[in-house]
Symmetry: C2
C-alpha cells in the first residue's frame, strides 16, 4: 500500500505525524479515563460518556477551536467559514460505548474530525462553509435498547415512550439520564428538532469497520454505500409454568427454555433459507436469562427473557422476517403451552449513503493513492439518522481486527491516518 | 373417600384433631419464620433451614420428646423403645427448601414424624424398638448443585470436592456452611459415616407428591415404589465468540445461544423418541444465562451458561442419554465453532423401595379404608440415599396441587392426616 501514496498519508509527512500524535494522545486519555479493567465502558448518557466529551472538548480548546454543548448535550467544535449563512458541513461520530467495549468504536470518528479541523487551522485554511465536529451521545443500544438516541434527539425523533425507558444498569429513565447531563428534555419530549436538517450541508462520519471484511481483503479503508436498519425487542418474555424438574413429565411441561430453543432453531433455519435466496439479514439474541430470583437446577424454568434483533439493508426483508417471527411465536406457544410476550417494538430504518459524497470520497482516496473500495455497513451508525433526515451523508470505514463491542478492537494508527486524509481531502473540497 | 374410613382418619376423631392442630401450628410457624415475601426460603445449611430445625426442636421438647443434633447437625427426636439394642426405626424428611419455594416440600415429612411420635407418647404406647425422627438438612440441590447433602453426609458419601463447592447465593463453600451450623466437617471430609446403616432398621418418609398424578387420579395418598436417579452438570458453558451483531455475517458467527438452542432442540427430539420407546426420562435446563457483565442486544453472545439435568428410574437410560448429550455437544461444537465446557458431573443413583415395607404401607392404608395405590417418584428424596445404603426404605406421597419448588404448593390437611395415619399404623406394627 505504500507505492504511490500521497504526502499526507506517508508515515513521515508532517500531516501524518500530527494526526498520529493527536490520535495517540486522545485514545490514551480516553482509555485511561474510561477503562473498566476488562475493556472500556462509556455508558450512553452516563459518566464515562461525559468524561469522553470533556477530554475531546479540552483538547479542541487547547488547539484553539471554540467548543460548546448543544441542546442535546453533545459536544460541538466549530471551525468558522467565511460565509456562515451557508449550511455547514458536519462530521464526527459518537463517544459512548457498550459495557466492556473497545476504545475505537465511535471515538475514532470524533478524533478524526478533530484532527481534520485542527489540520485546517494549523495550515491557515479559510473555508467558505463553516465546519462542525459533533461528539454525539447515546449511539449504542446497550443501555436503553434503542440506538441512535443522540442523533435522533437532534432531529426531534424521540417520543415520550422512548424517554420513559429504564436503563439496563440502573433504575433511571432515559429522560432523567439526559436531563442529568444537560439535555433540553422538554424540547426532546415534544419532538422539537434541536438542529434544523436544512442547516446541515452534509454529514461525514469515519468509523472502524465492525466486521471482518477489510481485514480479510487487506484494505486499510472502505467507502460505505449503505447502512442496515433493524427491528428490535429489548425483552421477549417466554412465559410457561415452573415446576419440579423430576415430577413433571414431558407432556405436562411448559418449559420456557425448551420453547425458546425451538423458536430460535426454527428462526435459524428460516435465516439460512433467506440467505440462500440472496437476502441480507442477521438475527441476534444477545441477552438471554432465566429469572435469577427463582431459577434452580431442579426447577423447570417457567420464564425466560431474551432480547431479539433483526438487521437488514432491506425494510421489506425486515418486515417479512418479523412476521415469520410472530407466527413462530404463536405456533410454538400453542404447541408447548407457553406465551411469548413482546415489549415495545423498536426500529431503525435502513439508509443509503449520498451517491455524490460516495463519489467524492472515492475520488479523494484515489488521489491519495489509497484504494476506493465500496463496502456496505452491517452495523448501524448515526449517519443513518442524518441520511434519513435528507442530509447528504457519507462514511469512511477503517480496517479493524477482532470486531467491535469487545475489548479486543484493534485499529492500526496508519490505517486511521489514511482514513483521516480521505475525510480531510473531501471536506476541504466541499468547504472551499 | 369417606365411606369405610377408620376412626384415626375421620375428621372428628381425637387422633385426627391432634394431628391437624399440630400440623397447622407448625406449618404456620415455619411459614412465618421463613417466608420471603413471595414463597418461603430455607437455604440448605443456611439461616432459614436452621430456623426450621429450631421450631420443630422446640415443639418436640414441649411435647416431652428428647431432642439432639447429630454430627451432621440434623435434628434428631427420639422415642425410646424397651429394647434399645435393636436397630431403630427412622422417619422424617428434610427441612431445607429451594429459594421462593413452598412450605410443605420436606417439612411435611418432619411434621408427620413428630405427629406420629407425639401420638405414641400421648397414648402411652411402649414399643420394643426405638423410633427416631430426623429433620434433615441439605436435601435440595438449588444452593450447592448436588442433592441429598444431609443424608449423604450421614453415610460418609460426600467428598472433599463436594465440600469445596461454592454456594450459588454467596461466596462460601459447602464445607464452611456446614461448619457454621455445627456439622463435624472433618469426619464428613474423610468420608466417615456419622450413622451406621446397620443401626437403622428402616427409613420411612412422608412427602408431598411434586407431580400431578395423585391430583389427576383423585387419590389423597400413594405408596412409592422407586425413586429416579439423576445426572447433572451444575454449569455447562457454551463458549463461542462475541461480536457486533450487525457486522458479523451468519457463516462467521460462533453464537453461544444459537448453538445451545440447537443442542437443546436436538436433545428434545431424542427425548421424545426415547419416551415413545417406553423409557423413563426427563431433561431440564433450569438455569440459563448470558454473561450479565457483557451481554447486550447488539452483541453476539460469546458465552452462555446453563445447568443440565437428566433424571430416570434406569441407570442405563441415564448413561445412554448422557453419551448422546456428549456426542451432540461435540457435533454442534464442531459445526458452529463453539465449545461446550462441562463442570464436574454429579450423580444420584436411582433407588427401589423395600418390597416388604411397600406391602406393609399398602396393608396399613387398606386397613384404614384408604386407597393403596402404588406410584413411582419422579423427584429425588433422601429415601434414595437410605435405600442405597441397604436400609429398607419406604415413602408415602400426599396429594398436592400446583407441584412443588414454587410458592403455590397446596396440600389439604385432611390428606396429610391420612398419610400420617398410614405411617403411624405401619411404624407401630414394626416397632411393637
Amino acid at each position: 500500500m505504500t507505492v504511490g501514496l500521497a504526502a499526507e498519508v506517508s508515515a513521515a509527512s508532517p500531516d501524518a505525524v500530527r494526526v498520529r500524535e493527536l490520535a495517540n494522545e486522545l485514545f490514551d486519555a480516553l482509555r485511561s479515563a474510561t477503562g473498566d479493567g476488562v475493556g472500556i465502558t462509556r455508558a450512553s448518557y452516563g459518566k464515562g460518556e461525559s468524561a469522553a466529551l470533556d477530554i475531546v472538548d479540552a483538547k479542541a480548546r487547547a488547539l484553539g477551536l471554540p467548543t460548546e454543548r448543544d441542546a442535546g448535550a453533545n459536544l460541538v467544535v466549530t471551525f468558522a467559514g467565511s460565509e456562515p449563512q451557508l449550511p455547514f458541513l458536519a462530521c464526527g461520530s459518537h463517544l459512548d460505548s457498550v459495557p466492556q467495549g473497545g476504545n475505537f468504536d465511535g471515538a475514532a470518528g470524533v478524533v478524526a474530525g478533530l484532527a481534520v479541523l485542527a489540520g485546517f487551522k494549523a495550515e491557515g485554511f479559510r473555508p467558505r462553509r463553516t465546519l462542525k465536529l459533533f461528539g454525539l451521545r447515546g449511539e449504542e443500544s446497550a443501555r436503553f435498547g434503542k440506538a441512535y438516541l443522540g442523533s435522533s434527539a437532534l432531529f426531534g425523533r424521540l417520543s415520550a415512550a422512548d424517554l420513559a425507558v429504564m436503563a439496563a444498569d440502573s433504575k433511571v429513565s432515559l429522560g432523567d439520564c439526559m436531563r442529568e447531563v444537560g439535555v433540553d428534555v422538554d424540547r426532546v419530549k415534544n419532538g422539537q428538532p434541536l438542529l434544523d436538517p436544512k442547516s446541515v450541508a452534509a454529514w461525514v462520519e469515519l468509523h472502524i469497520e465492525q466486521g471482518p471484511v477489510l481485514v480479510a481483503r487487506q484494505l486499510p479503508v472502505g467507502i460505505v454505500t449503505g447502512i442496515r436498519g433493524n427491528l428490535r425487542h429489548r425483552v421477549v418474555e417466554c412465559v410457561g409454568s415452573a415446576g419440579h424438574s423430576g415430577a413433571v413429565p414431558r407432556w405436562l411441561r411448559h418449559d420456557a427454555m425448551f420453547a425458546t430453543a425451538e423458536l430460535i432453531t426454527h428462526l435459524d433455519h428460516h435465516w439460512r433459507t433467506l440467505l440462500e435466496r440472496g437476502r441480507d439479514l442477521v438475527i441476534t439474541t444477545g441477552v438471554v436469562t432465566t429469572d435469577p430470583h427463582e431459577h434452580a437446577i431442579a426447577r423447570i424454568p417457567g420464564m425466560l427473557r431474551f432480547s431479539f434483533e433483526l438487521r437488514s439493508q432491506s425494510k421489506e426483508t425486515l418486515e417479512a422476517f418479523y412476521d415469520l417471527f410472530l407466527s413462530e411465536c404463536r405456533l410454538i406457544g400453542e404447541e408447548r403451552g407457553v406465551e411469548f410476550r413482546l415489549d415495545r417494538r423498536l426500529e431503525s430504518s435502513p439508509a443509503t449513503m449520498d451517491p455524490a459524497w460516495v463519489a467524492r470520497l472515492k475520488q479523494a482516496a484515489r488521489s491519495l493513492g489509497l484504494p476506493d473500495e465500496e463496502i456496505p455497513s452491517g452495523a448501524g451508525h448515526d449517519a443513518a439518522v442524518f441520511a434519513n433526515e435528507g442530509i447528504p451523508s457519507a462514511m469512511i470505514f477503517v480496517r479493524n481486527e477482532h470486531g467491535s463491542h469487545n475489548p479486543d478492537e484493534s485499529m492500526a494508527i496508519e490505517d486511521f491516518v489514511a482514513g483521516v486524509a480521505i475525510m480531510r481531502s473531501a471536506l476541504k473540497e466541499a468547504a472551499a
